[in-house]
Symmetry: C2
Subunit: 243 residues, 2 copies
């Protein structure tokens, strides 16, 4: 039986989603350990987005095949009883046998939070990038408009992609709050570090360090050096995966 | 010169505001260490509210006398450079020589946050009490109305008070949000554990375990046993001190 899970986590102390060597703590590793104990056999859980070290999620989606059928509510309760307090499974449902959380994902939405306040908020410090500078959001919106649509985003990626680095970016939405700027990115998929590099580049535009138009250079040349810096992981959160 | 400070902190890893033995980490101890280094002499900082272990603050007020005059902004920047990331000084101002943050405080407001959702929020887990049960807020509001005014709150206190345990409770305000109940308490002062015991008692009313009227028993008898349980510290936050 195939199950679909919705998961939220505070990624602060983890080496990211994906299971690595035994010594590194990962979200996938933690969930597989608990699920494996419940199932009495090793299990593999597939996540829709492979979030980096320190990145958070409110709506990560994953799926897992279990050889014995169980009630979804039983699985959810077992997981939440034994998972550490920074990981929570908010939903478990039965899924079609062929459902694959990553390959079937149509769209994902990420949120990047930037603190523009000079006074830090101690309660949000692990979930926001403390830039502490005002930003010109009008210019950032103009820059964002050049990034929308279908492009080869290799220049906005830290790793050389083996397969295609072409992605469709549907929306970049800005929300200005008191002392904070939130940027929501929605697209059909995101390359390694892509949202963080997009954010670093937009921040440089908002600081007046580069023109809005200049964000197209990394798209046209595919050169990482033409894009801005990689914004730190703690401001980033995977919000939603659509199917 | 006397200075007035506004301080916010995440109290999770501290043994409360008040300096204790050298081995215990306290907010007062951390700030005095940094200020003392700046001043080149031992300093004593006086906090308006002595928050317990694990309790947070957004608007703690404190004052400190320094023998050498300094610009308030210089003090604030020095503190925020050297304080740990879970303490932040949001404001420093010159104060009248006789200003005393605790003795001159007219009113304080505390917030207690209760999660009534069955699914926990991993991002808020350190700042909210995960009750995970629905509460009858109408009944809690009725109970709260009996607590307002001037009373001897000894029954709502864990320690026997040497001085008077009479306090004036001006307001208990309820704010219902999705999956969360917030209770704001405003009064002229609060005894040791008083807000947490008031909250535990109101929760028992909201769960239907006791009648709204029964909250007056601890007021009339002064017996701690007549009040409800002490709600855990992480839901509590000192929001504001008025002068």
């Amino acid at each position: 039986m195939n199950y679909r899970l919705v998961i939220q986590y505070d990624g602060t102390r983890y080496a990211g989603w994906q299971r690595q060597t035994a010594t590194k703590e990962t979200i996938q590793g933690k969930i597989e350990d608990v699920l494996g104990r419940m199932a009495g056999e090793p299990v593999e859980i597939i996540g829709a987005g492979r979030t980096d070290a320190g990145v958070h999620a409110r709506g990560q989606v994953a799926n897992v095949h279990l050889s014995r059928e169980r009630r979804p509510e039983e699985i959810r309760e077992y997981l939440n009883r034994y998972l550490p307090e920074d990981i929570c499974v908010s939903e478990v449902k039965e899924a079609a046998p062929r459902f694959h959380s990553r390959l079937n994902a149509r769209r994902k939405t990420y949120l990047y939070r930037i603190s523009t306040d000079t006074v830090k908020n101690v309660f949000e410090r692990k979930y926001i990038y403390g830039l502490k500078e005002p930003l010109d959001v009008k210019k950032m919106e103009e820059a964002a408009s050049y990034l929308l649509g279908v492009h080869d985003f290799q220049g906005y990626c830290t790793r050389k992609m083996k397969k295609s680095s072409v992605r469709r970016l549907d929306e970049i939405r800005f929300r200005e709050m008191e002392g904070e700027l939130r940027i929501y990115y929605t697209g059909d998929g995101f390359l390694y570090n892509m949202v963080r590099i997009l954010t670093g580049t937009l921040i440089e535009v908002g600081q007046g360090k580069r023109s809005p138009r200049s964000v197209t250079e990394a798209l046209e040349t595919g050169e990482r050096a033409r894009a801005g810096y990689t914004a730190p992981p703690q401001g980033l959160c995977l919000m939603k995966v659509e199917y």
